[in-house]
Amino acid sequence: MMATQPAKLVEVEAVSKRFTPQVSLGDRLAALLGSPVETRTVHAVDRVSFGIEAGEVLGLVGESGCGKSTLGRVIAGIHPPSEGRASIAGVTVMGDGRTPLKRTTRIQMVFQDPFASLDPRVRIGETISEGPLAHGLVTRADAQDYVTRWLTAVGLPAEAAGRFPHQFSGGQRQRVAIARALAMQPDVLVCDEPVASLDVSIQAQIINLFLKLRRELGLTMLFISHDLGVVRHLCDRVAIMYLGRIVEIGPAAQIFATPRHPYTRALLDSVPKLVTGRDELVTFKPIQGELPSPLSPPPGCHFHQRCPRAEARCRSEAPELAGRPDAVTGHAVACHFPLADEA
């Protein structure tokens, strides 16, 4: 890397992740004897590259099965990538599956379901202090004050430390999960659908909490969500994923105002909007068809079967994410026939 180029805090370079179920002994023997054995490999993430600047919030958007959660987990070091490399400040998060798991405190994760991500038998205070104690971020003597500090930061009373998860509502539990992640003083926070399971009024409270924490701590975040409204509200930049690939990436304002990829356009058109006009006629322009299976993604551009602009070339040749995907202000699109800016 050239010295003049500002380093991204998070670098994702051509990361792919495939899941192949273990082949049974019988199948292995059958394969040895020459019979064709079907391997069902899921191509969850396919050569994805992008960077996140320090202090930036990148939204990762897509429908179920597009690989957004898997990508988040690869970046957080939960899954090793099949190919490529994810690094934080130049340090690889995790190599291939054979190198031992590198324990890092530089990245933390907040999960979707706070009912599943908190241990029901452990008091909140212990849940929050366990990691920092293990990594020597705080001494046992200071642990209580430390927990109080983070509980306050997420808007919970200090007494919460002595309670168990079941004594909290969903929104409060999500606050605990955020406090637990922040107490590790990570450089990067990966949030996987952190507000998806919450009621609208509670969701607004947690969104405001993220906004506050961002202002106060300068958090760098990868914010994974299927909810375009939430992403638009919280994120500086947005990456749209479809079937394992990033099809468009750019500043949030630009993506929402002038999407260039037909899929992004269609996704935006699919979101129900609040109808407040007297006789406003609601028309969706739904995307035709369904998401193809990641077990056998279509050749060429993955979106071509559902795309109104598809031509012969789209069926055979996968478009690259052209443009300047790494530039902060860059708006890059993986499409042979992108929409013009006036769309």
């Binding site: 609208v200 909810d227 509200h233 609040l274 407040t276 969706f284 322009k285 739904p286 998401l291």
Partner: protein
């Protein structure tokens, strides 16, 4: 205005729990006209689903309807026997649930399940029954219905399964379909497809619908009238666009302000402080009072739902000429 199809009045459904008895639905009154789509909105625990179940008589002990009436075309449904309810369900009122993988039987083919639904109400010959199934599946947008009808639920995607569930609800041409969060579990692109199809089906067949959802935007795109529930009670009702443009209840306004998109990106949303109270331990008077910025001494008494066919609100201090930006 079309004649009234469903008339719910003073409906109260109580559940006896170990911690005490609670009214999941309390004193709920509303009507649905023929062919009308009404949106029923609220957060978890507001009683919106229990209202739907109560209309269908699907309340099992420890729950029961303690008072009120549900009239369909003038016929009282509360207090009907199991057999009478069974013959009504599916034929006159059908329901579509949130999770299609939980409502379809995994070991029966789609055809078998659909034929059972027809056989429950009507004696139709083999060929005629099959033809009706295929026709309805086609109407809800399942391609190649004649072949797909022999498949099992697991061979369908989530969106297709929900279409099958909708098809089953339509089979006996009910006058009213209660849809309980039918698109919540689906991806946005599939949700848009189903919303579009449901709307055009309802218009074509003249079916009335109660669309239960927590998502204001979804409801606003299908329904013409909105009912807002909070802690078991109806707190606001009226024509959709009017209520959304100018909510009278502070809770409705708070709910609208909570939507991302109501504030410029990056700015704090107008949030409602606190959480919904437990139904076992409701505050005195208006249930929203502890979270309300307009609450005063008067709010310690329960406000009545204002009467009238147009806009109704249950609040001592309804918001006047204020508009959500």
């Amino acid at each position: 205005m079309s004649p009234v199809l469903l008339d719910v009045s003073g409906l109260t459904t109580r559940f006896a729990t170990r911690a005490g008895s609670l009214n999941a639905v309390e004193d709920v009154s509303f009507t649905v006209a023929e062919g009308e789509i009404v949106g029923l909105v609220g957060e978890s625990g507001s009683g919106k689903s229990v209202t739907g179940f109560s209309i269908l008589g699907l309340i099992d002990p420890p729950g029961r309807i303690v008072s009120g009436s549900v009239k369909l075309n003038g016929r009282e449904l509360v207090g009907l026997s199991h057999a009478e309810l069974r013959s009504m369900r599916g034929r006159e009122i059908a329901m579509v649930f949130q999770d299609p993988s939980a409502t379809l039987n995994p070991v029966l083919t789609i055809e078998t399940q659909m034929r059972l639904a027809i056989a429950a109400h009507e004696n139709l010959g083999d060929a005629a029954a099959r033809a009706r199934c295929i026709e309805v599946l086609g109407a809800v947008g399942i391609p190649d219905a004649a072949r797909r009808i022999e498949a099992y639920p697991h061979q369908f995607s989530g969106g297709m399964r929900q279409r099958v569930a909708i098809a089953i609800a339509l089979l006996n041409r009910p006058k009213l379909i209660i849809c309980d969060e039918p698109t919540t579990a689906l991806d946005v692109s599939i949700q848009a497809q189903i919303l579009t199809e449901m709307k055009s089906l309802a218009a074509r067949l003249g079916t009335a619908m109660i669309w239960i959802s927590h998502d204001l935007a979804t409801v606003s795109s299908v329904a013409s009238r909105i009912l807002v529930m909070y802690a078991g009670r109806l707190i606001e009702a009226g024509p959709m666009a009017q209520v959304l443009r100018q909510p009278h209840h502070p809770y409705t306004r708070g709910l609208l302000g909570s939507l991302p998109g109501m504030a410029p990106p990056g700015e704090d949303l107008v949030q409602i402080p606190g959480t919904m109270p437990s139904l076992i331990d409701l505050p005195k008077g208006c249930a929203f009072q502890p979270r309300c910025g307009f609450a005063d001494a008067q709010c310690a008494t329960m406000p009545a739902l204002s009467a009238g066919a147009g806009r109704r609100v249950r609040c001592h201090h309804p918001l006047a000429a204020e508009t959500v930006p």
